[in-house]
């Protein structure tokens, strides 16, 4: 397209600053540059990272239970998950830790060496605000609010030479999450079934070209570049029909929003649309009140979580070797239960890494113990693994990321601090 060429030439000749004065924003410029580089459909298998954000701060201590430590039971008389072997007890992993019983569907994956668990992981920032902490975990720059883009988008931007399709970065949900916002194009897809231009057949073609002409004209900025991505994505999706891919190997997803999200991510992967980074989130973890122990509120949320992740692994089958699932949450919860049989905002939590070449079957991370003297501010589980070290290892060892400085600006990650949960 000539306008595209023109824009690129102007961009190359004058740089971003000159165009800023004409009212074109930098995000648009970078996106225009991507549009030029974009090649055809990939049709080949790509390595995929699936990020799952447990919004609301999951209670890591009841998700991955330190049943071997007496203090856990002292601090949580009403809500501790009973030790293995008791009714509603934890599912023992290594004599020290156990899975919450509602996560039983994940136990076979752990024993098969597909699922690794990381405890006492979190942010170096002390905030107990959900919004700040989520923001930091998604921007990848804890303590710095001015970062405009997300770490997953920067990964997409820096790995752009992998060949581009509009499906490199996809969030399942109504909004593009902070982690995927930025210069590299990314899609928010609420429902694959309804994604695309209106109409059918020839009418749809007609409508698509009409809108394409309208947006390809002199209009510019974020709206126009997003529209360009929309047309491209719609055409490719129409050709690939991922929504027709049925769960394989008898995988049974729960009918919850999270189950539907994981099912759609599997459909995108199995359709070979070039998905590199998928993101979805799942809520309901902010258990201030009546959180329950082996059963109850948190158990209900974890049951849905575990069933969906297990179904995803089953569905992908051998394809799981190309896919790593990384779960995260903004922080953990207080070691002690509160007066409402719940837990308040804490510090470190637990995360999961599954699939790919993960060396599973182990609980990783240095355990700081629940000794009040070793806790963060005397109150919360201390962070012994900076979340950026975990994310960095996964990026490098699963996606082959080579420029961590760009993905986590201002942070010197160091392979010596990595957990080695994937082979180098």
């Amino acid at each position: 397209m000539t306008t595209e060429k023109l824009r690129r030439r102007v961009f190359v000749k004058t740089g971003g600053l000159a165009l800023l004065s004409l009212g074109l924003d930098p995000i648009f410029l970078t996106r225009a540059a991507y549009a030029v580089r974009r090649s055809g459909a990939t049709g080949t298998r790509t390595k995929t990272l699936v990020c799952v954000f447990q919004r609301g701060a999951v209670d890591g201590l009841n998700m991955i239970v330190p049943h071997g430590e007496r203090r856990y039971y002292d601090e949580r008389p009403r809500i501790a998950v009973p030790p293995p072997g008791h009714a509603g007890g934890a599912l023992d992993l290594d004599g020290m830790f156990g899975l919450h019983p509602a996560l039983a569907p994940l136990l076979p994956l752990y024993h098969a060496g597909t699922l690794a668990l990381v405890h006492a992981v979190g942010s170096p920032d002390a905030t107990r605000s959900h919004f700040d902490a989520q923001d930091y975990m998604e921007s990848g720059t804890p303590g710095r609010k001015t970062t405009q883009d997300g770490w997953l988008n920067r990964q997409l931007a820096h790995a752009a030479d992998h060949g581009t399709t509009p499906f490199r970065g996809v969030a399942i949900g109504p909004h593009l999450p902070r982690a995927l916002r930025g210069a590299a194009p990314a899609l928010a897809i609420d429902n694959l079934q309804n994604f695309g231009m209106p109409g059918r057949g020839a009418l749809r073609e007609r409508i698509t070209s009409a809108f394409e002409e309208m947006y390809g004209g002199t209009s510019s900025g974020l709206v126009a570049s997003s529209a360009g991505e929309a047309f491209d994505a719609a055409r490719r999706l129409e050709a690939a029909h991922p929504e027709r891919v049925r769960p394989a190997n008898g995988a049974a997803y729960p009918s919850s929003p999270f189950g539907r999200a994981m099912r759609q991510i599997a459909q995108l992967i199995r359709s070979d649309l070039g998905l590199e980074i998928a993101f979805t989130d799942v809520g309901g973890w902010d258990t201030h009140v009546n959180q329950g122990a082996g059963e109850g509120q948190l158990a209900g949320r974890l049951a849905d979580f575990g069933r969906a992740l297990a179904a995803f692994a089953t569905d992908l089958g051998e394809r799981l070797a190309d896919v790593t699932i990384l779960t995260m949450s903004e922080f953990g919860r207080t070691v002690a239960e509160n007066g409402a049989s719940g837990t308040d905002h804490g510090h470190a939590t637990a995360m999961m890494v599954m699939g790919g070449s993960t060396r599973g079957g182990r609980v990783y991370g240095r355990w700081p113990t629940l000794d009040p003297a070793r806790r963060f501010k005397g109150r919360d589980l201390a962070v012994t693994t900076d979340f950026r070290d975990l994310f960095a290892e996964v990026l490098v060892r699963h996606l082959g990321s080579t420029d961590l400085g760009a993905v986590f600006p201002g942070y010197q990650t160091n392979a010596a601090r990595w957990l080695d949960l994937m082979p180098a």
């Binding site: 994604f195 309208m214 709206v223 997003s226 929309a230 929003p257 201030h288 209900g300």
Partner: protein, 553 residues
């Protein structure tokens, strides 16, 4: 006007540069154009309805603002007539609570019988034909939409939306389901154009906020409710012969002990400082948060059949001395401590700046110019926090009228749907389907779970997926078959048949004869080979509503 010049002088003296408005005389509205009116209606209303531009052009800026800033003087029969059919607005909170509890009992019964369900709190697209509490929630969402589309008090409705998000509560958090209607009607709507201080205090004492951010669960360490004390005394007086009675009392006491809140919950205190008043960089510490939480212990909700209201529980109140932002709160003054705290926060310079910045973001630009914020803060100082005066200052500031900030805001899904309905003269039908349309576009009303409320920046609303959804809605509205909208009695383009007629109609109806040149050219190219005039009109209107210009305001 005089106030405005005074503010400008003050700013100049303070060394601030009103850069945004250079060359824009402050009395610009004396000579004003159609483009000015379109800009004003895009920002202070959910876009123009047919005839609005002409009406406001004659009214003048001062006339328009005087009317819009005194919404009670404006008759609002269209909206009121529509709202009459929504039962939820006639129900008391106590009635809604009954409905909610009946639903909870029914669900527990189902669970007891083994039909397990793990209710997620993630917002979902509402059902087609909801019943019970869900029906009332959908009706309440519909009320917000109907007001945005039909009300004559447009600036007021825009501000209601602003404060609803500033003081966000999440409707799907348990009891908030039945507390939300009175929260919006009696707190947000009552004070949206009043004093910020009153609004802040009303939100702090609203059962919805107290439940949503858990302050109702926050009690002084070791505090015990009086019932427990009474039970204990009764147990002591009991003679050993009454063993069975004693056992029953003990078990009731244990149940109460398990249920009763213990200790401080900082949630509301933190969001009060971070999101409602000072802003995250407003200069407070974690200690301040803790002391604010202690001051507000005892602020709770009384719930019994027939009554749901704010209550101050003296037994739960922390009786120690507190220190917030260097200000000492002497011990033992109960509820008054909280009121004093809220007044202090409402008048704090950080609050003025933080809230003014957000207002300028809503009315001027995602990254509002400093001059706009300074103007708003000056008006805040001058009026003692009168929201109407702050709004008037923003809307008459050079920044608001500066060319570089026009059409630079991207419409939220609510703004997109409401403005598309308004520009075509469509009205909501008798179903609740329009609620689902806005939800699918990414903004299920009252269902943002984070206390930040829905974002007011374009990155949050512009992405490929969201645009595709907007194109669907645009073509549905153009074809007169949008779910939840009644097609207008007079079609927007009338019986225009030739490309020229249609183009002239689109230019006038959708672009108010002031914009859209490139889009109009595309529309001409696309419709000229269509033989059927109806298909031409539909495609032309669909393109207009789906156009880049119409996504912005």
């Amino acid at each position: 006007m005089r106030r405005h010049y005074a503010a400008a002088v003050l700013l100049t003296l303070a060394g601030a540069t009103p850069a945004a408005g250079q060359g824009q005389p402050a009395h610009r509205h004396v000579v004003w154009s159609r483009a000015d009116v379109v800009h004003l209606l895009n920002r202070t209303a959910y876009g123009p309805r047919p005839g609005d531009v002409e009406r406001v052009l004659i009214l003048g800026l001062d006339g328009y603002l005087d009317a819009q800033l005194h919404p009670n003087r404006l008759a609002d029969s269209d909206a009121n007539l529509y709202l009459r059919r929504l039962h939820v607005l006639e129900m008391s909170t106590a009635d809604l609570r009954e409905t909610y509890q009946a639903g909870v009992r029914a669900r527990r019964e189902r669970q007891r019988r083994g039909a397990g369900d793990s209710a997620a709190t993630r917002p979902e697209v509402p059902e087609m034909r909801p019943t019970g509490m869900r029906r009332y929630l959908a009706e309440f969402q519909q009320a917000a939409l109907a007001r945005a589309i039909l009300s004559k008090r447009q600036l007021y409705e825009v501000l209601v939306d602003f404060w609803t998000n500033h003081f966000n509560v999440f409707v799907l958090k348990g009891p908030v389901r039945f507390l939300m209607p009175s929260y919006i009607e009696d707190v947000i709507r009552r004070h949206a154009l009043g004093s910020f201080e009153d609004l802040l205090i009303a939100t702090a004492q609203s059962p919805a906020m107290l439940v949503y951010l858990d302050n109702a669960q926050s009690v002084a360490p070791n505090a015990e409710p009086p019932q427990l004390e009474r039970m204990r005394r009764r147990a002591e007086r009991m003679t050993p012969r009454r063993a069975a009675q004693r056992a029953r009392l003990d078990s009731a006491m244990r149940r109460l002990e398990l249920r009763m809140p213990r200790g401080i919950n900082e949630n509301y205190a933190r969001e009060l400082l971070e999101l409602h008043t000072l802003g995250v960089d407003g200069g407070y510490t974690q200690d301040d948060v803790m002391h604010v939480a202690r001051i507000l212990t005892g602020w709770g909700v009384q719930q019994r059949p027939g009554t749901v209201r704010f209550v101050f529980n003296d037994w739960a109140h922390d009786r120690g001395e507190k220190l917030v932002l260097g200000h000492v709160f002497p011990p033992g003054r109960g509820e008054r401590e909280g009121l004093e705290l809220l007044r202090m926060l409402a008048r704090h310079p950080s609050t003025m700046r933080f809230v003014s910045t957000k207002l300028c973001r809503r009315f001027v630009a995602d990254d509002p110019p400093a001059a706009c914020i300074d103007t708003a803060v000056q008006a805040w100082v001058g009026s003692g926090g009168d929201i109407g005066e702050v709004i008037r200052a923003i809307l008459t500031s050079p920044s608001f009228w500066a060319p570089e900030y026009r059409t630079n805001k991207v419409k939220t899904p609510l703004e997109f749907v409401a403005s598309a309905a308004r520009v075509t003269g469509s009205v909501p039908d008798t179903t609740l389907a329009l609620v689902r349309v806005v939800a699918r576009l990414g903004q299920p009303l009252f269902q943002e779970s984070a206390p930040t409320g829905y974002p007011d920046r374009r990155e949050s609303w512009v992405n490929a997926g969201a645009l595709l959804q907007r194109f669907h809605v645009a073509l549905a509205i153009a074809g007169g078959r949008a779910p939840g909208l009644q097609a207008p009695r007079e079609p927007p383009l009338g019986s225009a048949g030739t490309a020229d007629e249609i183009l002239a109609g689109v230019r006038h109806v959708f672009f108010h004869d002031v914009a859209g040149a490139a889009t109009l050219q595309s529309i001409r190219n696309q419709i000229s080979d269509l033989p059927d005039p109806r298909a031409r009109r539909t495609l032309a209107m669909g393109m207009a509503i789906g156009s880049p210009e119409f996504q912005r305001r």
